[in-house]
């Protein structure tokens, strides 16, 4: 199952918006793909915390401790996959 089947296009757009906000520097919106490595695009550790909180608020979820690692927030698709798991 791919992340896109877990989370629809609207949700992917919402995640993308939040990611762009949290990265906090200008990056080409179109170059931000679902699989792009967010850390290599400049997502800092501290910004990851902001990203986590913003995602939780937007999707009304709470990431469990087991998901609080760098792997969860590495890409839009990895975030979507976790949201999918928590929403099921």
């Amino acid at each position: 199952m791919t992340s896109s089947t877990l989370t629809g296009p609207v949700e992917m757009d919402a995640i993308k918006e939040i990611v762009l906000e949290q990265i906090g520097r200008t990056i080409d919106r179109d170059s931000l793909q679902e699989q792009s490595d967010l850390y290599s695009l400049g997502l800092t550790s501290l910004a990851t915390v902001g990203l986590m909180l913003a995602i939780e608020e937007r999707f009304d979820i709470e990431f469990p401790e087991s998901m609080l690692g760098r792997a969860t927030f590495r890409s839009i698709s990895s975030i979507a996959e976790c949201i999918g798991k928590l929403s099921n």
């Binding site: 550790s45 501290l46 990851t48 915390v49 986590m52 909180l53 990431f63 401790e65 609080l68 690692g69 760098r70 927030f73």
Partner: protein, 309 residues
Amino acid sequence: MSCIATETLTDAYRECRRQLLDAGVLISMKVDGLYAFSGPFEEVIERFEQLVTRRARRHRAEVMRFPSIMCRDDYLRMTHIENFPDLLGSVHSFTGKERDHARLLGARSRGEDWTQELCPTQVMMTPAACYPLYPTATGTLEEEGRLVDLRSFVFRHEPSIDPARMMIFRQREFVRLGTAEQALEHRAFWLDEGEEVLNLVGLPVERVVANDPFFGRGGRLMADAQRDQVLKYELTIAVASGDKPTAIASCNYHQDHFGHTFDILTHDGRFAHSACIGYGLERIALALFMTHGFDTDHWPTSVKNALDL
């Protein structure tokens, strides 16, 4: 950790603290994490520092000594308040007039919260010995970078029954500012040097990858990132408990975090990287007393010789 393990650890901390207080090594100041120190304890710290200084002499580090309070504005440019809000110490004082003073005294006499009358001062408690260095280092470094020898009391609000977790304690640090390669070389050298000097005084430490105690659930992400990038090592040994060894020194690589924040540049115009070793002096003294006994006269000859006791 299970409840039983937590209770066992709590018992170990209480027992260790009792032994140190009974022996007069530590003197209670009524608050968890706050102690006065005996003459022998201070002598051990002094001698250990002299050993560190002797061995470091050939590196010709610049000596700088900062007080335990630092400029609030500089503090706020760092990310300490984001990462460790529960550990910070903000210095407040009274700046009002007579009527405000009367209100303060009235509240105090009624057992109410008199601190509402206080205002933040221009200073914060220093959370790490190297923090006040970076704001003074703005500018361009020479090609060889800088090596700075620091020492100060630092404050962390984490009251604990663990006698090794003090709220105010001394850190002796050697900090390197320079290129990424210079910073990493510094950390590698001082990890070995730290291990060697601690072994020399009879403390067989273990080198472990570690993380700082970042605040909250988000802190788990920070800790995971710190470990993932192997930014922090600790040298640990049993002080109160063999199950949970205590870090008595740490070696950290900050990447270009401080260089970026305070515009510290390498000779070729890049943001400077930094790394440090920090010896936790009280913890080292406690490890020595718990390992070798409370009477320094009876410590192993090799340890006494190394410390010139």
